[in-house]
């Protein structure tokens, strides 16, 4: 594969925006990304869109050309990718694959979700359809319930405590408070997190990511053409997507995600780096327990030690392995279809040295991990400045 570089990024704020619809959010992110790269819409040769449930949330289908044409991108392939919460991670993976293979030079990968126009029980129902509708959903399992079952098993097997989960929430809220585009910009305490309203035991409202509107986009080109667009290109060193069973009850061990391990292994190998070389990561903390499992599966710490590793401060912005300096899905927000590309944007901001108050000291190698459902899709991307 020929080397691929990210030369433009664009994000909307994440939040609840009654005055913005799905298309206006996606167009805003796409326009910002093109402006960031100094590229006209007419230069774009393909448009890859991640979106989980636009048809259910807002009733609109055929989303990719609907958005591309509104952004002035006309006549080129425009395709939507759906992989639950990994929808835009998957769109990005396929966009990078196409540019890497030499099919196109100038490509937009974007993601969008508009969620806040629906009441919470309806949102829970739409999200639950990313699980096994005939089994889990009929039993009354929401996504918080699936991750609560993962948390209980992790606690039983490894002694993980609710305080460890709370440490993830507190850290990510601390980071989100410094991110001007984050949905929730307030700090919380461990005591607050533990006393939160129960959602699915042992998870409280503070263990759950936010229901948000938002969009994100990146412009990618062959690395050899990067200088035409930016003085600060960021290279895709490695990327992989993997899959696994949709239903939790079909997995041998629910305290680990086989697809995350497989995609991480492949991405590390492709990039020629190991977990030790990663300076910072954006991981898929749809629930606090998901961040703990992620840092174990990615090899940042040993299996079962994600809780203490977090509570000891290792993943703080100022720690040895900063995780979710954007605030993560927990505080930045989780507009499902925008999350994967949003993570890429957040890494690029750090790697360009443009993260302001939340800038980490060293950001040469960044890793993004985007999870779909309860682990049925995983995309791991490793970015580098070299």
């Amino acid at each position: 594969m020929r080397p691929v570089a990210i030369v433009g990024i664009g994000k909307t704020a994440f939040g609840a925006f009654a005055d913005q619809d799905l298309r206006s959010l996606a167009v805003e992110a796409t326009n910002k990304c093109l402006a960031d790269a100094g590229a006209p819409a007419g230069a774009v040769e393909a448009f890859y869109l991640g979106n989980f449930a636009g048809p259910s949330f807002v009733g609109q289908n055929h989303l990719a050309p609907y958005i591309a044409t509104a952004a002035g991108i006309r006549g080129v392939p425009a395709t939507r990718f759906e992989a639950a919460c990994a929808s835009s991670g998957s769109a990005f993976f396929h966009a990078v694959s196409a540019v890497g293979a030499g099919l196109y030079d100038v490509v937009v990968a974007a993601g969008v979700e508009k969620m806040t126009n629906q009441p919470t029980p309806k949102v829970a129902e739409i999200l639950a359809s990313a699980g096994d509708v005939c089994g889990e959903m009929k039993a009354g399992a929401t996504f918080p319930a699936l991750f609560a079952m993962i948390a209980n098993r992790h606690m039983k097997q490894f002694g993980t405590k609710r305080e460890h989960l709370a440490a993830v929430a507190v850290k990510n809220h601390d980071n989100g408070a410094l991110n001007p585009l984050a949905h929730m910009r307030k700090k919380i305490t461990v005591e607050q997190a533990l006393a939160g309203k129960p959602i699915a035991e042992p998870l409280t409202i503070y263990d759950c990511s936010l229901v948000s509107d938002g969009a994100a986009a990146v412009l990618i080109v062959p690395a050899e053409r990067a200088a035409e667009f930016t003085g600060k290109p960021v290279r895709v060193l490695g990327i992989a997507q993997a899959s696994d069973a949709v239903a939790l009850d079909e997995k041998d061990d629910i305290t680990t995600f086989a697809a995350v391990k497989a995609s991480a292994e492949r991405a590390y190998r492709m990039a020629g780096v190991s977990a030790q070389d990663v300076d910072l990561a954006e991981v898929h903390d749809c629930f606090t327990i998901a961040e703990i499992v992620a840092i174990e599966d990615l090899g940042f710490c040993k299996k079962g030690e994600g809780g203490p590793y977090t509570a000891n401060g290792c993943t703080l912005r100022t720690g040895p392995k900063p995780v979710n300096t954007s605030g993560g899905l927990k505080a930045k927000g989780h507009p499902v279809g925008a999350t994967g590309v949003g993570q890429i944007c957040d890494l690029v901001i750090q790697m360009r040295g443009e993260a302001g108050e939340r800038q980490v000291a060293k950001a040469d190698v960044g890793l993004a991990q985007n999870l779909g459902g309860s682990g049925a899709t995983s995309v791991v991307t490793i970015l580098g400045k070299r």
Partner: protein
């Protein structure tokens, strides 16, 4: 699990569980309710509803019935 199952499932043990407080639309009237993943004798696992008394991981449970195709278990 497969979509249509009618044979009784027998006994099992609780692999994991949760009590749901924030339900999807169809379950608004049942809150709070407990669901579990049950390991059946033979090793297969199913996502299930728990009737009656709350159960914990490793508790022994017995099959009660299918409710709308979903297996329902209770503490043994």
């Amino acid at each position: 699990m497969s979509t249509v199952e009618r044979e009784p499932l027998g006994n099992g043990t609780v692999y994991t569980e949760t009590v749901v407080w924030s339900p999807p639309e169809a379950f608004l009237n049942e809150v709070p309710y407990q669901i579990a993943i049950v390991s059946l004798e033979g090793g297969r696992r199913v996502t299930a509803r728990i009737a009656g008394e709350r159960v914990a991981i490793d508790d022994a449970v017995e099959f009660v019935e299918f409710r709308d195709c979903v297996p329902c278990f209770r503490k043994r």
